[in-house]
């Protein structure tokens, strides 16, 4: 049970960073932390005690107690999506820096209401 709670704790740490930090880059890092924590959680879902990798290495081999391969495939997809979002966030951060000459979100406040 402990690893699951550790994941949730990691999510909370990331959320804390997203909510309280003023530097855009730190917000992005906090956000990545949330993402990794959830991916870790998802990967843990497929965990099996004394499981073996779901790979057939020899002809005609049949073994039981494979770990569930699906969560890993899903996590891989989620990682790819996370890569795309992180890249886009960084690109946005760079453009923001070029425009505003700062990474501090308290100084980037033109939109209100």
């Amino acid at each position: 049970m402990i690893p699951y709670f550790a994941c949730i704790l990691l999510v909370l740490i990331g959320l804390y960073a997203v909510v309280t930090k003023r530097n855009i880059v730190r917000i992005i890092i906090g956000f990545s932390l949330v993402e990794y924590a959830i991916n870790l959680f998802f990967a843990l879902v497929g965990f099996k005690r004394e499981g073996i990798p779901p790979i057939i290495t020899e002809l005609g081999q049949s073994r039981s107690n494979f770990v569930d391969p699906l969560p890993q495939a899903l996590v891989l997809t989620a990682i790819v999506i996370g890569l795309a979002t992180t890249a886009l966030m960084l690109a946005l951060a760079m453009r923001i820096y070029e425009k505003y000459r700062t990474f501090d979100i308290t100084e980037i406040r033109r939109l209100r209401g």
Binding site: I55, L76, L90, A91, M94, R95
Partner: protein, 146 residues
């Protein structure tokens, strides 16, 4: 971007090709061993990123590489959609494995029907796409201006 010291440059020249080869190996054996199009594509992109980090580049070549890699990325995407469509046209199901109806032979490179070509398409797309992302982030001043 500025280049790096001769130590990095020489080692990059030695290793980049091998990195590319290893990435291709991962892509090609996606249906036999762990890995596949995405993991291999990342390695392929790493080979190019290594070279351009070590040697640096001027805006002109960056722009050319960006154009080339975005075109190659689109081609990879089109190839992947075409492969998926092949199943649709041939046997009524999108992503149906159109080439073979068997389950593939373990440890045989050319088996498993369309999984290998699909992995290659993904490898091309990811490799070119990541390199384009790298260039866009490293040199966004001109890339975004278009």
């Amino acid at each position: 971007m500025r280049g790096m010291s001769p130590v990095v440059q020489v080692i990059a020249r030695l290793l980049a090709g091998l990195l590319f080869l290893f990435g291709t190996y991962i892509v090609m054996h996606g249906h036999l061993t762990p890995g596949g199009g995405f993991a291999g594509g990342v390695l392929v992109a790493a080979a190019f990123i290594l070279m351009s980090l070590a040697f640096g580049s001027v805006e002109h070549t960056e722009r050319n590489s960006y154009t080339l890699s975005s075109v190659v990325e689109s081609l990879g995407g089109v190839l992947f959609v075409c492969l998926a469509l092949a199943g649709y046209v041939a046997v009524a199901y999108f992503f149906q494995n159109a080439a073979t109806y068997g389950t593939g032979t373990p440890l045989k490179l050319i088996s498993g029907g369309m999984i290998l070509p699909a992995n290659i398409a993904i490898g091309i797309k990811v490799g070119a796409g990541l390199f384009a992302v790298f260039l866009a982030l490293g040199a966004s001043r001109f890339v975004m201006k278009d």
